[in-house]
Subunit: 445 residues, 2 copies
């Protein structure tokens, strides 16, 4: 007979990091009857007010995690990215235009389908999202100091900067691009523990819709467009109920990023103008309407030093903590949502199949689930990191500036289509079936 | 009433170039009741004896062109590439191994399915293939001098170096990487008329099976393997009924290729050894068994200057004449077979739908068919050219030589899988349906 240990009547999961992915994962676990605690180092949820987008597929993954997540997304003001495309058919579309030679000439369009992309403000979504969790699940002001892993049979202990400790059956690092849990897994001295500078940064700022209309015209100003050109590119889309246009201009930077403590620094419109001096008048006009003082955002990612593994024993990484990408696919968070769904499904399987069993079996099951997660998610997620760099290189081909070589540059769109489709048309059902099957094989069931 | 012109009782197609794609296309057209003539500049069919491979999908395309093509392929000694994999399950497999650090460590394997790749000798296949055409279809010793296009209502006239002329309803350039028809379409002074040096060449030579066994061991020597490493890679596979191993070592070359008249030049084993001096002993051992004097093959392609279009009015390009790629996907000919099937299907549609109609309608129909072909084939074929360069870059990542960066290099295989699948799993049925539908729309039917 199996020895029944009273403690195995719950499965306890500690999540480090109360960002979007940590909270969504917590919601998915709570809904599956798992005991969860989320630790956020900030005093409260005051995320930066940047825009972000989710693929239609990742919204479906949210729904499978917990339908309340989708409700939170919609009630926090998420809109299809085609919101301004009043002539359209309600289909979301990515559009690449010539930023360098012929003003605004459409080079390629990719139909993402009806509500194919939903955009929202990160801070607004997170604020609404946190409210779907039961009271007491999230603890703020808890900065992770150290993780204590003892024997596989023991709990994993989180030690916080405020001197407190907490024990869990397993721990998930959802603590973003500068993850402490990642540092614990790979060691503080290892390059694999940190994101690295991609040697691209973005000038970011807002332009009033009136000014955007005069630079871009009605159709362009009210829709999302990517302007490609030599060694740089620019994306803009309407925000704030079409009263403003958000502009991000990505440029190459041979230098190191000097301030390791902050990925955002000050910049000026003049600097941005210098980077796009040769570009077409339409694009220069738009940049000319940026405020005099704007932001410079460094693009860091895990491309150079990808995580050797996403899990070890009873600790694993999810979202940007596992794989941080530059933002050119507009889908970094969507990949994190896929991670969360995979993990929630596997942990539910652990919970159901080991309830009342010995702690030895429970611990083996958690390690098997995390190992399965690593095997299923790592290739795709690291491909996504590589692909985000690759599409940037394609948007910024030097050949865009060479009349004789532009045709070569234009052949890139077949590849961009394939890469986008791989992200958008992800078969989450297959992922979940493979996850459960692999987990059961590992457990010898 | 439509004026019936007796000449419209046949549809005549002139094919320039009697290589594999030209002959297969001719067979497909003959089988569809179309009048074809193939002009080959050589005095006879003495192709170089290089090995080549076809994907399972392209063999299916051959069958749709004419089942006799597949019969010719098999009876000319085509074998699955897994021929030496006697421990295998009869499935063809691509395998990437570490050429630099750990000798022969398997980095990745990709299952191409049962008879997923068939390899043959180009010369043997062509010799058998030519025999399936009726007598008089192929004319040898006919070097194209000039093409005369007059009014759209007139025939297209081919003028040969021997002073003869021939008129056709339409002309297809299947005359390979140094296509004359391509030069006609884009102009003799245009860079788009010529392939360009990829700045990679291959050392090529044969090693006896006995020596290969001592360098590589039983399993490696008898199967196809790609050895990846910094700035170079090497492929080998058994040939000649497993008595020899064919070796091709691809290296970078910052210089221009000096001899524009020949893509093959002499090289020595010593030069090859120098390029792989740091590589692992297993790989150096194999190179050490090459003969003292070997070949150096320049890799030219159309990457830098892709064809602006594959067809204009009643002239079009097919296979390498339209899109020449470096050989790293092992599928250049397969893409040409897809082209040929698309063209044969469209011209059959022209033939059936315009039989007995006026020459004006016939000429419009041919131009519409060729324009449809361009729209359907160009993106995929030019993607293939780009992709062949890209996988070479991935095989030759400098990071393979850096212990700390190897993990980054290894993330490439997800992309290599996607690219291979895009080639192997091509939906020819969808291509044909789209081709016919688009053609009919253009003709207003």
């Amino acid at each position: 007979m199996t020895m029944i240990d009273a403690q195995q009547e719950i499965l306890s999961v500690g999540i480090v990091g109360g960002g979007l992915i940590g909270i969504m994962l917590a919601a998915g676990l709570v809904r599956r009857g798992i005991t969860v605690k989320v630790y956020e180092q900030a005093r409260g949820f005051r995320e930066i007010g940047a825009g972000m987008a989710f693929t239609a597929n990742s919204v479906r993954c949210m729904e499978l995690l917990d339908p309340a997540i989708v409700h939170a997304l919609r009630s926090s003001g998420a809109v299809p990215i085609s919101i301004g495309d009043h002539q359209g058919e309600g289909r979301d579309c990515l559009r690449w235009v010539d930023g360098y030679s012929e003003p605004s000439k459409i080079l390629y369009q990719l139909d993402a389908g009806i509500r194919g992309f939903e955009a929202c403000r990160r801070d607004q979504f997170l604020e609404t999202l946190v409210k779907i969790l039961p009271d007491g699940v999230v603890a703020c002001g808890k900065r992770l100091e150290k993780i204590h892993e003892n024997d596989l049979d023991d709990k994993v202990t989180l030690q916080f900067a405020d001197g407190t400790f907490a024990d869990f059956d397993c721990v998930i690092g959802a603590d973003g691009i500068r993850s402490r849990v990642r540092q614990h897994l790979f060691g503080e001295g290892s390059p694999f523990s940190y994101p690295h500078y991609s040697h691209k940064f973005a000038f970011r700022g807002l332009v009033s819709m009136g000014n955007a209309l005069s630079a871009l015209g009605e159709f362009r100003a009210r829709t999302l467009n990517m302007h490609v050109g030599p060694n740089a590119h620019l994306i803009h889309y309407p925000v704030a109920n079409e009263t403003m246009v958000n502009v991000a201009a990505f440029v190459s930077d041979p230098h190191e990023w000097s301030d390791k403590t902050s990925l955002v620094g000050p910049a000026t419109r003049k600097e941005a103008m210098r980077c796009f001096a040769d570009w077409n008048p339409c694009l220069r006009g738009l940049i000319g309407f940026l405020p005099e003082n704007i932001d410079r955002w460094a693009m860091f990612d895990t491309y150079d030093y990808p995580a050797p593994f996403f899990s070890r024993d009873k600790i694993c990484l999810v979202g940007d903590a596992a794989h941080a990408a530059v933002p050119h696919h507009g889908a970094g968070a969507s990949i994190g949502v896929e991670d969360a769904l995979c993990l929630a499904t596997l942990l539910a399987e652990v919970w159901v199949s080991t309830r009342g069993k010995s702690s030895t079996i429970r611990n083996q099951a958690v390690a098997a689930a995390f190992d399965t997660y690593d095997g299923i998610r790592r290739f795709r997620a690291q491909w996504f990191v590589d692909s985000s760099r690759r599409v940037c290189d394609l948007y910024q081909q030097p050949e865009w500036a060479d009349a004789q070589r532009r045709l070569k540059a234009e052949t890139c769109f077949e590849e961009i289509k394939d890469r986008s489709h791989k992200i958008w048309h992800f078969d989450w059902n297959n992922m979940l079936e493979e996850a459960i099957q692999t987990y059961r094989q590992k457990m010898g069931a």
